[in-house]
Structure formats: structure tokens, C-alpha cells
């Protein structure tokens, strides 16, 4: 991305400043400077990673993360067209992920943060919300999701994560799905015990682990 260092920095700064108009302004300036659309998207992605780090450190908060994500989403409307015009296809989604807080549990703040960050990292996220019936996870996997993220915030509901994995085995789809688990009482040991594939201590750790898969 040599030659566009100023634009790259402006894009990253705009993401960290999390204001939608500021992000769109930085994108317009980068486009005016003829910075390739893919490079603009990558620079925004780096900025979003920084937003995630600041969020983890308690320096930025959820509305700020979402505002930055909204700016990026809005910018993609234009950049998607640019990509096509520049001879490339619109950025391919990494994988389809079904996300949800398991049935009996209504805590979904952490899961929502994780969904947003996965979306910003290029995944096609199907967030089913909270109190999600077990079968719905299976249905989404049968309909094309290759990753399944389940959150549980209580010791009384974390066992549902195991139930869904067992249902995947019964349906013969377990080997095709990457299962991610998280939530306050969930640990790496629990992840290992129930046979899940990925445990995320935080939203950013989860994203970083699944990006490497």
C-alpha cells in the first residue's frame, strides 16, 4: 500500500474516532486519491481491530464499536461497487456463522459484541439473538452455516452447548461445523470437555482464533 500511507492512517484514525460521517469522509478522500478499494477496506479493517483492542481495554464502549461498524458497513456500499469496477468481485465473505445465546438464557450483550466483530472481520453472521431453541442452531447449520457460536452466561444454561453438539452428531453434521463456545462460566476445559472447537475468553480473542482457522 505504498504511496497511500496518509490515507491509510486517516482511515484508521477515523475508525478509532468511530463517527460515521468522519469514516465516510476519510473513505471519500482515499477514493479521491485513487487508493484501491481493497486497500481502503483493509485499512478500515485494521482500524476496526484497533477499536476492538480499545474496547477490550475499557477505553471505548459498545455504542462506539457499533458506530465504527456502522461507518464501515455504510462505506462498503460504495466500496463494493468500486471493487467490481476495478475488476474484482465484491469481497467474498469468509464463512457463514450462526450465533446465539442458548435457550433459557437471555444474556446477549457479549454475544452481540462478538457477532459485530465477526461481521467486521468479514464473516457472514446470522445472529439469532437470545434464548435460541437448540434446533434453530441445527437448522442454520443445515442451511449453510459452517460455524456455530453459542453463548451461555449461567452455569444452568451452559450445558445446552453440549446438547447442541450432541444434536449435531446425531444429525451427522458435527464434522462439518466449527463450534465456538463462550460466556462467563464457560472455560477452555468446558470447551474441551464437550468437544467444541473454539473457546473465546473475549470477543476479540474469538475473532482472532477463527480468523486463523
Amino acid at each position: 500500500m505504498a504511496g497511500f500511507e496518509n490515507e491509510k492512517k486517516a482511515l484508521q484514525d477515523a475508525m478509532v474516532a468511530y463517527k460515521v460521517p468522519g469514516i465516510l469522509d476519510a473513505v471519500e478522500k482515499a477514493r479521491a486519491a485513487k487508493m484501491p478499494a481493497n486497500d481502503i477496506i483493509n485499512a478500515m479493517g485494521d482500524g476496526m481491530t484497533e477499536v476492538g483492542v480499545l474496547f477490550e481495554r475499557g477505553r471505548l464502549f459498545l455504542p462506539h464499536v457499533l458506530s465504527a461498524a456502522a461507518g464501515m458497513t455504510k462505506a462498503m456500499e460504495v466500496l463494493g461497487e468500486d471493487l467490481k469496477a476495478q475488476g474484482g468481485a465484491a469481497a467474498a465473505k469468509k464463512a457463514s456463522v450462526v450465533m446465539g445465546t442458548v435457550e433459557g438464557d437471555v444474556h446477549d450483550i457479549g454475544k452481540s459484541i462478538c457477532s459485530t466483530m465477526l461481521q467486521c472481520a468479514g464473516f457472514d453472521v446470522h445472529d439469532l439473538g437470545r434464548d435460541v431453541p437448540k434446533q434453530k442452531f441445527i437448522d442454520e447449520c443445515n442451511n449453510g452455516c459452517s460455524m456455530c457460536g453459542m453463548s451461555a452466561l449461567m452455569t444452568t444454561t451452559m450445558t445446552v452447548q453440549r446438547d447442541v453438539i450432541e444434536m449435531m452428531k446425531e444429525a451427522g453434521i458435527r464434522d462439518k461445523i466449527v463450534v465456538m463456545v463462550g460466556g462467563a462460566p464457560v472455560t477452555q476445559s468446558w470447551c474441551d470437555k464437550i468437544g467444541a472447537d473454539v473457546y473465546g475468553e473475549s470477543a476479540s480473542e474469538t475473532v482472532s482464533k477463527v480468523k486463523d482457522l
Binding site: 455504542p63 461498524a69 437471555v106 450483550i109 449461567m154 452455569t155 444452568t156 472455560t187 477452555q188 476445559s189
Partner: protein, 356 residues
């Protein structure tokens, strides 16, 4: 186990052995993390040596030295007996009076509380007259200060459980301004309910009110709770009001909501205690979260760092929350006694907290 290794734990409760050098390295890393997160001083070399001694003690259970005993308070009322194992309980059915007397006379509780099985302000409203009756009855029998305990739990005020739009849903649709507005309305509602429930239960003879897990639904939950505390204090100048937190940092679900002109999102224990004082609390419950992937040493050093600074800056007593997944203790349904006693001793003797 090699001679120079010590039994200790990971943050998920798993038994591991570590050398003294590795434990010290984790202690240093843990205190550095807290210092960085909270912009507060790290523990001193003496503190770290003391922590090392506590962790490396060959006894399974450790205790404070004579003269260092502090106030011991239990939360969730009868639920630690009647709840099942997954709900912080033991599955032993008993009445609320029996539970109160067992805590006072068998478990050595210095204070105890009455609690509704849902343990939240909102569901108490429709049954407040029954709670008042029970409070009055138990007060006839118990000697120790007997409070009422509940979580502000502002999540119950959002859809689908309550009348206000759910910020998680609204933000997912990028309706950020609307999400903030709904949080503010819910906080006002919560404050009104706290005032209603609190004043009724105080009229029935409660010695005070324990606000458990303040800010569990984020910064607006904290502001709603603080406004409720303020109203309760105004009506009950002599009440014992404890404000216990949900986490070491106030989650910014609103991001900009203020209490008395101060933005509360992102406040750490040493800052949380100051706004609680301002609202009228006379005891503060400090919380530090456990990282399940790190060792007991890392988690204890981190938690003690936060609580030590909180005690230093507080003008009111600080009672440290020590239980499953908080205060350096592993996240495990039945927290291991070796870890619980080590964290408790460290909080009292190094962080200098006033109660547990």
C-alpha cells in the same frame, strides 16, 4: 511433583503445579495488567513477596493472622442453601427464617439478608407486602444486622421482559441514539422501583439494603441504581446501604450517561467507590473478574491491585466480593477452598479490605 513445585490453580479451577519463579512471574504480570487497565499503581515488591508466600503455603487452607479478622457478609439470602448446585446453592430445602438463623448461628455471618428467589428489584414489587411480612418476622428472631438484598438487574426492564427497547437489539440495527434513549428511560424506571421497594422494606424493619451486582446491564443500570440509592438514603438517613458491583469495569452500553456530571462507563473500582459514596452508600463491594485462562497467581495479583487502590481512595468501608469467578477466585461452581482462602487472606492482609 518436583520438590520445588507448588500445587496451585488455573482460573477455571484446574489443579496445576508451578515453580516459585513461575508463580512470581505470573504475580508480576497480573499486577502489571491491573495497573495498565486501571491506570493505578502496581503492587510493591513487598506485596508480591507476601502474595507469593500465601500462594506457596503448603497448607490446603490458609487464614488471616489473629487480629486481622474482618466482617463476613453473605448475599442471596436463603438461596445458597435452597438453590441447586448450578445456582450457587446446595439443594437443601429450608425456610427463610431457618436459613437466616443458620447463617447467623452456624456459619458466623456478621450480616445477612432476606432475598426473593429471583433476586431482582423488579419481581419484588408485586410481592413486596409478603416480603415485608417475612422481614418483620425474621427481625423478631435474628440478632445480626439483617438487610434486604436484590440486584438492580436493569436487563429485566428491556424487551422482551420489560417495556423499553433492548439496546442489544437496537444497536444491532445501528439505532444507537434510540438505544441510548431507551437506556435512560429504563434507568429512571429502575430508580423509581428501587425507591418503592427500598422504602417499603425499610419500613418493615430492615437494617439496610444490599444492592448486588450494580451495573450488570451496563452504565445506565449503574446510574439507575445510584439514583435509587440516593433516594433511599434521603428517606432513610441511618440505613446501612451496600453497593456491590457486577464487574471491575462499568460496561458502556450507553457510553455517555452520567451521574452528577460524571460519565460512569469504564469506571474501575477505585472510581466506582467515589460515585457510590456520592450517592449515599456506606459500604462498597469491590469486584474483580477472573480470567479462566490465567493462573490463580495472575488473577490474585490483579484483583488485589484493584482492591488495594480502591481501599486507598475510599472514604467508606470496602467489602471485597469473593466467590465464583471474582476476587481472584477460579470460575467454578464450587470454588476450591485452597483458592478461596488464599484470595480472602490476600484481600484482607494486602489490599486491606474491611470485609468479605
Amino acid at each position: 511433583m518436583a520438590a520445588q513445585e507448588f500445587y496451585t490453580r488455573m482460573g477455571d479451577g484446574k489443579r496445576v503445579t508451578m515453580t516459585k519463579e513461575k508463580i512470581m512471574a505470573d504475580l508480576q504480570a497480573g499486577t502489571a495488567d491491573a495497573a495498565d487497565m486501571g491506570t493505578i499503581p502496581a503492587l510493591t515488591a513487598d506485596d508480591l513477596e507476601r502474595l507469593l508466600d500465601i500462594i506457596c503455603d503448603r497448607n490446603r487452607v490458609v487464614a488471616v493472622e489473629p487480629g486481622n479478622e474482618v466482617v463476613l457478609t453473605y448475599d442471596i439470602g436463603q438461596l445458597d442453601f435452597t438453590g441447586d448446585n448450578g445456582n450457587s446453592g446446595n439443594g437443601v430445602d429450608m425456610g427463610r427464617l431457618e436459613a437466616a438463623l443458620i447463617h447467623e448461628r452456624a456459619l458466623g455471618a456478621d450480616t445477612f439478608e432476606l432475598a426473593h428467589s429471583d433476586y431482582s428489584i423488579k419481581p419484588v414489587k408485586p410481592v413486596i407486602s409478603m416480603e415485608m411480612q417475612t422481614m418483620e418476622e425474621i427481625q423478631q428472631e435474628i440478632i445480626a444486622p439483617f438487610f434486604y438484598g436484590a440486584m438492580p438487574n436493569m436487563g429485566l426492564y428491556y424487551a422482551p421482559d420489560g417495556p423499553y427497547g433492548n439496546p442489544a437489539d437496537l444497536m444491532r440495527e445501528f439505532k444507537i441514539d434510540e438505544s441510548m434513549q431507551q437506556s435512560e428511560l429504563a434507568a429512571e424506571h429502575l430508580a423509581r422501583d428501587i425507591e418503592y421497594v427500598g422504602n417499603k422494606i425499610m419500613a418493615a424493619g430492615a437494617d439496610g439494603f444490599d444492592f448486588d451486582t450494580m451495573a450488570s446491564a451496563g452504565d445506565a443500570d449503574f446510574v439507575g441504581g445510584l439514583k435509587g440509592v440516593e433516594a433511599l438514603r434521603k428517606a432513610n438517613p441511618l440505613a446501612y446501604i451496600n453497593t456491590g458491583m457486577a464487574g471491575e469495569s462499568v460496561m458502556g452500553i450507553h457510553g455517555g450517561i452520567e451521574f452528577h456530571g460524571k460519565t460512569v462507563a469504564g469506571l474501575f473500582p477505585h472510581q466506582q467507590v467515589k460515585v457510590c459514596e456520592e450517592a449515599g452508600a456506606n459500604v462498597f463491594g469491590a469486584v474483580c473478574n477472573t480470567n479462566t485462562s490465567k493462573s490463580l497467581a495472575w488473577n490474585m495479583a490483579r484483583a488485589v491491585t484493584f482492591v488495594k487502590e480502591c481501599v486507598k481512595q475510599a472514604s467508606i468501608p470496602v467489602h471485597c466480593d469473593l466467590g465464583m469467578g471474582v476476587g481472584g477466585i477460579p470460575m467454578f461452581e464450587t470454588p476450591p477452598i485452597d483458592a478461596v482462602t488464599r484470595a480472602s487472606k490476600a484481600m484482607v492482609e494486602i489490599a486491606k479490605c474491611d470485609g468479605v
